[in-house]
């Protein structure tokens, strides 16, 4: 049984089919990439999976349980966490409280405040933000705000993590650090499904890649197969 599975997932915005009849699956332990031109429906697909949007047709299941129609907090507590393309941190809260929210509210079993605080501390250590834990999140660099987002997602103890353009807007050094972070998250046994435009990153870390175009899945395969696929080169990668 795949960890995450979608069948015929469809979402319209007005007359436009943002995502249409997309089938996908992510297996336990994989790192799966999702690529495609701007407006291809990648973020919409993530919004459908995380419960921010409800699909018009099709079914999404996580660990065999149907999750479309569930509220985002329920999906999060089941073990499916996400980050956002446009960083969504809690700007006026200290970094630590940003992460604490995840460990207090997002885990499947309710933890005591002390346990939640301890786990938030560990998670901050893991992403390397311990030293700035008392700073308000708004004062951080973009790269560090993205780390805060990843940390609050990790604090919910997810099985599957959706990363929406973790590397967008980062410089070369920061991209390398982010790639290293993704690898370390994966080493902890967390399955990753990521949207990315930075090709170097996606080709290096992903086991499998899906390509969306105009809301439809046009290709799927190993990085090797994707880089040599004729359709993908035409619509996305370029000659």
């Amino acid at each position: 049984m795949p960890l995450l599975e979608g069948e015929g997932v469809t979402k319209h915005f007005g007359g436009l089919a943002a995502v249409s009849h997309v089938d996908f699956q992510v297996d336990q332990g994989e790192i799966v990439g999702l690529i495609g031109p701007n407006g291809a429906g990648k973020t919409t697909l993530f919004n459908l999976i995380s419960g921010a949007l409800v699909p018009k047709a099709g079914a999404i299941s996580f660990r065999g349980e149907k999750i479309n129609g569930l509220k985002p907090h329920r999906i999060c507590r089941m073990g499916l966490a996400r980050t956002f393309q446009s960083v969504k941190v809690f700007p006026n809260m200290p970094v630590f409280e940003n992460v604490l929210l995840g460990s207090l509210f997002g885990t499947s079993n309710r933890q005591s405040t002390a346990d939640a605080a301890a786990y938030a501390g560990e998670t901050l250590e893991f992403v390397g933000l311990s030293e700035i834990r008392a700073r308000p999140a708004r004062d951080l660099t973009l790269a560090n705000q993205k780390r805060v987002e990843v940390a609050s997602a990790l604090a919910t103890k997810p099985e599957l993590l959706l990363l929406d353009e973790l590397m967008a807007g980062l410089n070369a050094t920061e991209v390398a650090q982010a790639m290293e972070l993704v690898a370390r998250i994966h080493d902890r046994g967390i399955t990753i499904f990521m949207i990315e435009h930075v090709m170097k990153a996606i080709m290096n870390v992903c086991d499998r890649i899906m390509v969306l175009h105009h809301g439809e899945k046009i290709a799927e395969g190993t990085p090797q197969e994707i880089t040599t696929s004729k359709t993908v080169i035409e619509v996305y990668l370029g000659e």
Binding site: S50, A81, F105
Partner: protein
Amino acid sequence: MNSITLGLKKWWVPGLLIVILLLLAGLPRFAPMYTVILATSILMYVILTQSWVLFSAPTGYFSLATAAFFGVGIYTAAVLGFTLPLPVVVIIAALISSCLAFVVGALTLRLRGIYFIIFTLGLVELIKNVVLWHAIKFAGARGRFVVLVPNNTIYYVMLAILVALLLTTFLIRRSRYGLALQSIGENEEAAAHTGVNVTMVKVITFAISASFMGAAGAIIATRWTYIDPYIAFKSLYSFMPALMAIFGGMGQFYGPILGSVVFAYLEEVLITKFPYHYMLLFGAILLIVILYLPDGLVGLVQKARKTVLQRGEHAIT
């Protein structure tokens, strides 16, 4: 030295609050009746403002439904006041108001920004007109009489409601629930995706805040002796708490309390001294505050403290 000043900083606000509450508890013993009545009105405004702040400040949902919950409390006292003992009436008023808020909140807290504000204001009008229709159609009279209660009793009940409200606020702020509330105001979508049940947190807090508004309405109604829908559901009671909170400054815990005390006292003084021009003066003062004190009275206090501290440092060096 540093830790001592930090400790003092942490304790002086609650400490001062306890001293003030003790003084207030003794007020009817040494003050004339007029002062007690004035203090009751001020306490009422502090309750309305603080309960408004409890929900609207952290979440950023600007509610103008205060008058609806307050009015429901007033009507509860009018209908049940002659048959049930006073504490029971106040508690029932709190329960009815919070139930109403629960239902309304569950239906409307998905609306954001201006839509929520307009809906809450509409709610006041809706309830007012339903009550009016019922009164004329079935009771045959627009208004109702309310049971009489001694002024000192009204004062003490009002004070008890305020203490309960302050305790509730304090407990919510300190708990994980307070953190969830704040996260909703900062970024509701992110909060939901971090596992916060945003709908439930919002609806429950809205209901808690409404219960105090209803309780305050039930007890103040006994002082008015006669009420009708126009008195009970005056939209002024929706705007006042928001204005008082802004006037005081929402950056600090004591801001809305300070704002409502000064504002309510000012209203009383202006009404008695300038009965014909008080609205004009009131408006002018409000304009000045909004224009020149964007952080409210709290901003003024902090500015003053900074100047004093700086002078002190200069004197030492």
